[in-house]
Amino acid sequence: MTTPHATTMPSAATPNLRHLETRTPRGDARAVAGALESEWIKAVTVRATGTILALALLGGLAVSWSVSTFVTDRVQYVADVGFLWTGVTAMLAAIAGVLLFGSEVQHGTLASTLAARPARWIIVLAKTLVAATVGLVLGAAGLAAGFGGAVLAGLEAGDTSSVATTIGWALLYTTLSAVLGLGLSMVVRNSTAAIGGLLVWAFVVENLFRLFLADEIARFLPFVAGNHLLSDGSGFESAEALAVALTRPENALVFGGYTLVALVLGTVLLYRRDTN
């Protein structure tokens, strides 16, 4: 690759000697729009986001089609199989959320971001809204792929009376997951540690806890609550677990609570820590 050199004389270096103005609350509010646009550009102009979206789509399609085609010991319907991939999509959304902040720390761009906007709440708000949007898009993509795979495999629709409601809860789950990932990376400040911690917690630690904890306590674990947003009470739970299961709004509050704690803690640390 040839390295371009500046062969032309430098352009006139003209400083804009305008009168300096101080910040105002109105100015800060207007700055949110620019911060949103900036965070969106950052999210969509790196390969990681596209890769995660592709995983959500292709993974959902593959898993859904495979289960529909090869699991033949019971009757399956699109209305059930369509949601199988959502738990993984939520994890992918959390990873995307981690990368929204973690990659800035990793590549040193956080310093220039905060130097441009010292009012750090503007950055937090923008990243939160973009994370939520990314989570929503990933959720929708995962669901579309999940339903699409089941339809391609030739399954019948099944009981669709609660599908629309479950889709709403599923999208809430993936949206909150992305924001949880963002909050976690603001606390941990290391993408690898945050992603590793999330995966280990969700797939190993919580399952271990569920073996030892009473159902009344286990129902408050974050991903137990999150995954129960996809269930209207039936499924593979034991009768004892079903007896103490939280309602979907309650599960949303639990998972949302963890998300809020991570985000608030991350914001406090963002204000308190020096940025190198």
Binding site: M1, T8, T109, P118, N276
Partner: protein, 298 residues
């Protein structure tokens, strides 16, 4: 334009920046020099609100950085040239920066042209050389047409052509009324275009004055070439004159040609050259900072 007042920062037991107070004038290039670990980078980070000082203040025409309405449009800072996502193109890197500060997108193309990166605009920054990253970092600082440029080692990675380009750009910027505050290890390079110098060592201010004032205080050394260096050194030492051997010549400090000539004559030592030599700015600054250097070479 910039006033730094009693700036102090401590990390644990270590006082990284110790009560720094100095002005940075508009329309001038101010060099910020000091050995490794002197506190230069920490000071610059405090100047743009990235590091919170334990004490002290930095103000831009009386306004604190965090209170500026448009920080990136007032102060263009280049603190770390490698700070860019390797998977993002140069154009998108600048688009994101422009959007964040409410700067029109058309400025992206202007600054890419300013720094000579138009043909690399759609290449991922992970493929960039250090020099190209430095140029992109400068482009990002120029996006908002700032009136202050704060640069930490901006010529790192630039070839001689690029260094000259940067020097001319910064000098031109200051001539047009802008404020330039640039830290650099290349003292000889800085001395060619800096008007003022802020010298720090061990976190403390050692000097904050014009380049002229610093070089005006330089002693004159005496350079001697002789086929009898050992003998002459003995007689000079007996007379209390400090000498340094440099490339077959003796460099003497705190004396005059007349005094050296007399010593040589009295002891029948043949002298081939006896010249007054002005000490360079680099020598003066190295002398100033040597007692505080964390990692000094032998």
């Amino acid at each position: 334009m910039i006033t730094v007042t009693h700036l102090t920062k401590k990390y644990g037991d270590r006082l990284a920046v110790d009560d720094l107070t100095f002005p940075v004038a508009a329309g001038r290039v101010t060099g910020f020099v000091g050995p490794n670990g002197a506190g230069k980078s920490t000071t610059m980070r405090m100047m743009v609100g990235l590091t919170r000082p334990d004490r002290g203040d930095v103000r831009y025409s009386g306004i604190r950085y965090r209170d500026l309405r448009h920080p990136a449009r007032t102060v263009g800072a280049v603190l770390e040239a490698r700070s860019m996502h390797p998977g993002r193109t140069a154009r998108n890197h600048l688009r994101a920066a422009a959007a964040l500060s409410g700067i029109p997108t058309r400025r992206v193309e202007h600054v890419l042209a300013d720094v000579g990166l138009e043909t690399a605009a759609d290449k991922r920054t992970g493929t960039f050389s250090l020099g190209m990253r430095q140029r992109l970092a400068l482009a990002s600082a120029l996006l908002g047409e700032p009136q202050v440029l704060l640069l930490d080692e901006p010529s790192n990675g630039l070839d001689p052509d690029g260094i000259r380009w940067l020097r001319d750009y910064l000098a031109d910027f200051a001539t047009r009324g802008g404020t330039v505050f640039v830290s650099s290890h290349l003292i000889s390079e800085l001395s060619m275009f800096a008007h003022d110098l802020v010298v720090v060592g061990g976190g403390r201010l050692l000097a904050a004055e014009s380049v002229q004032a610093i070089t005006g205080r330089n002693d004159i050394d005496v350079r001697v070439e002789t086929p009898q260096p050992t003998e002459l050194l003995e007689h000079l030492a007996a007379a209390g004159i400090a000498a340094e051997v440099r490339a077959d010549r003796l460099i003497l400090r705190g004396t005059t040609r007349a005094a050296v000539s007399q010593i040589a004559f009295d002891n029948r030592i043949h002298v081939l050259e006896l010249t007054d030599v002005s000490r360079s700015l680099e020598d003066s600054l190295l002398d100033m900072t040597r007692p505080t250097a964390e990692f000094a070479s032998a």
